[in-house]
Symmetry: C2
Subunit: 183 residues, 2 copies
């Protein structure tokens, strides 16, 4: 049970977002720009995958399934493919650039100072731009916030992973900006 009375029985981050719409608004706008906005040279799938990976490193069941299912939707793959990336992205059949960005994201998850100049240079050799590196760091940092928000309030996470897969298509279409989904 959540640590505070969230009033409505919404899963994961949707509970505290309905509880405090004043903070839900900028949180969703941030997610929209970082993850859904098409004005980005990283694909939506790559960006959702960075969020899912960081969430798995933070052991946040709700976030890694929501955003893993979105990556799965965009990649048009299955759950085991996403799980393989979360478990060992270096061995997964993804681009060298995404591997290099996931390495940066993994360092951000541990703490900002874990990112090394070598990691950044390595990403550049595979074509990563300043903005892609910026967005990777901020997506990883933002999920360190979202994961702590969800688990720090002990919110409820449905355990059936298929539920997240079923919901991903709608979220992909609607994005994060419409606050009505949190009501």
């Amino acid at each position: 049970m959540a640590f505070i009375d969230l009033q409505k029985d919404l899963p994961g981050i949707r509970g505290p977002m309905a509880f405090r719409p004043e903070t839900a608004k900028p949180l969703n706008e941030l997610a929209e720009v970082l993850l859904h906005d098409d004005n980005n040279t990283l694909s939506r799938g790559e960006r959702e995958m960075i969020g899912a990976y960081v969430s798995s490193q933070n052991d946040c069941f709700y976030c890694q399934n929501v955003h893993g299912a979105l990556a799965q939707h965009y990649f048009q793959c299955d759950i085991p493919f996403i799980d393989a990336i979360k478990k060992d992205y270096q061995s997964a059949p993804i681009s060298d650039k995404l591997k290099a960005l996931l390495a940066i994201a993994g360092s951000v998850q541990k703490g900002g100072k874990y990112v090394t100049p070598e990691q950044v240079e390595h990403a550049r050799t595979f074509g990563a731009t300043d903005r892609e590196i910026h967005d990777t760091v901020l997506i990883a940092a933002a999920f360190c916030m979202f994961n702590r928000y969800v688990d720090g309030l002990n919110t409820r996470a449905p355990q059936d992973r298929q539920l997240y897969v079923d919901r991903a298509k709608i979220r992909a279409e609607e994005g994060y900006a419409d606050l009505n989904v949190y009501k």
Copy 2:
């Protein structure tokens, strides 16, 4: 030197915020609601102190000085008073409620799952409300993002602590919503 070309020589988070105004907007709106908005039963000083404490636990020099200086401004105290809270809040001359909220914030800094029902109940015995507990968790989580954003891009932090103190008064007056300060 920052890992990406931030174009303008702005310190700390102001560099990446000027680099990517699309994400700066929701980040600043979040800070405004959480830290500066007067529609809150936690004082501005208490909220800034929670942010400064989490930033010190994350060893983020820039953020702990910016927000420590703001707490100092609101508390009308000196730098050693803020440093004493960061070092050992249990022994500091602050309210039991703020101590209990700092304990929750300290757990959030480690990871969402570190927050215990006992910590939350303890805060309630000193009068903490659901919304105060919510805001404490989200402020702590948000600083886990801000700190990683600042240090993960290796931004520049002025080392003279008095500079942060001098700037705090203006930030307290203006709040976080005006994006012009990041240009």
